[in-house]
Assembly symmetry: C2
Homo-oligomer: 307 residues x 2
């Protein structure tokens, strides 16, 4: 099997576009803008060698879908750039492409092309996802206003706990659901329309709740007050927190949850069912994390960074 | 310097879009379609370790611009995904980004975002370029018709000769210009409008002239007759050919030239100044490469493939 037969057999079925052309041609609906996001996952950095190919595929696509959702955009198409250290076997390829196909159906996106290369190193997957948004309605990190409340779309910290378990930290035995939280995040594409209609600013929690919140504050020129104990946690994560196996600080600074963090005028919170108010925006700068008594909690690390 | 300061210092100046958001928002002119292409370059596979960062940058961007040109699309923006084995030094980053900035100005494109990651392996650069074309006017590989002539936009084989010299093949001492042909291809974005106005099919010569011509034939369901001795060669390549240092077969199957190969109705060739008629399309299938006496030249390898 060479590069061309690999593409024809495994990647062409993911695409309504003929992958043999130099480029894909995509129609953007009239009155809409294009929203573009890229994320790269490298073996040994973002996932372990020998990881389940379906997990890799889900994560590689979903982290991009999450970025589109944070902008209020609906998914359109994605480019798949994959560098293999050796020609993968057919079992791997079938599992990888089946996972992409399942996500394409679930999230309404298709593969528009990409590049398949060989690399003298670890598997590297880079996806560029494209979405569409009615012109002028994209939501950035920069629109939060004093008086907005801080909403989070669902429980956080699960991916952090799953990762600790995967890395075999002492005291950690967690459910399959938390392991899955690391590898198969649920991008909140279901909230994209509400985000563009009602949110002043939004970001997905990829670097960590506090770090991503500080991004909103910097971009918007506002201060955020985060009520640490109001942050929603799953029942399992609550048990880990109470047992001391994990600190609240870790849960608020661990990344990869892919819930949305949003600045929303208080009268519009009902448009985000399942979301929780965890703080508010004020005049000023920076993030204040406080406990139920209003005491400041300080953070050593705000979130994940490369290098 | 961490990931964020690297982006702010070196990559933000390449972009009119705030790279801190989750995604970029791009306007597509009314009545236009989006054209998208991706290419990945890996150290040790597509360029040698320690290669000039400016060369790497030029090649990574230009191979994508070439794909857009082959579709008849004008450049709009690109996503830059770069995986570093270690934090690069400032000299490297300055040279790399200065080369991108120069090409942005030369070809009318800007960086709309991307992802910067660390990899436990070689440097890997994946670019997704986006262009625009008036709706319905994109040119694919599939439109060649019997009666069309085969046009090539400029001399070929230079990149192959440069690569041989770089790999220190005996008998090869070539000019800087041929070395540069490997690393700094000239994408024919200047021909994009003529391509969409007058070409029935087009492809850029990345895999090799004969291989890329066979792609047109397969996609279009036609046969191509290539008159091997009419293929334009630079004066330096002609000397190498006459001396026996390189074979005509190698020149016609070596890749990376990034000239355009086009199927054009005979009455429209004047719209492609500097281009040369090197054959014709007929009813049938496959590529016939023939010499000045009409004798068939056979090929062992049609072009480059991974794995």
């Amino acid at each position: 099997m060479n590069e061309f037969s690999l593409i024809e057999r495994y990647f062409q079925p993911l695409s309504p576009v003929l992958l043999k052309d130099d480029a894909a041609v995509l129609s953007i609906p009239a009155g809409h803008e294009l929203v573009v996001s890229s994320d790269t996952l490298n073996e040994g950095t973002h996932f372990i060698a020998g990881a389940d190919p379906a997990d890799i595929a889900h994560k590689a696509l979903r982290v991009n879908l999450s970025d589109l959702a944070a902008m209020g955009a609906d998914p359109l198409a994605y480019q798949l750039n994959i560098a293999f250290s050796a020609m993968p076997d057919e079992i791997w390829l079938e599992a990888f492409t089946a996972a992409l196909a399942a996500d394409q159906a679930a999230f309404g996106i298709f593969c528009s092309g990409g590049d398949t290369t060989s690399i003298k190193g670890p598997l590297s997957i880079s996806i560029t996802a494209m979405g569409v948004v009615p012109a002028g309605q994209a939501v950035t990190r920069g629109g939060a206003e004093p008086g907005d409340v801080l909403l989070v779309s669902g429980p956080v910290g699960g991916a952090f706990c799953g990762l600790q378990a995967l890395q075999r930290q002492p005291g950690f035995t967690v459910s399959e659901a938390l392991i899955e939280a690391c590898y198969r995040p649920c991008p909140r594409t279901d909230l994209a329309e509400a985000v563009r209609m009602y949110a002043h600013a939004a970001v997905d929690i990829s670097d960590g709740l506090v770090a991503d919140l500080s991004h909103i504050c910097e971009a918007s020129g506002v201060k955020a007050v985060l009520e640490a104990e109001t942050v929603p946690l799953s029942e399992e994560v609550k048990v880990l927190l109470r047992s001391g196996a994990v600190s609240r600080e870790s849960l608020l600074s661990g990344g990869d949850d892919y819930q949305l963090l949003m600045a929303v005028p208080p009268q519009h919170t009902q448009h985000f069912p399942g979301s929780t108010v965890i703080g508010r925006f004020e005049e000023g700068a920076g993030v204040r994390v406080q406990d139920v008594d209003g005491q400041v909690l300080s953070f050593k690390e705000k979130g994940w960074t490369h290098f």
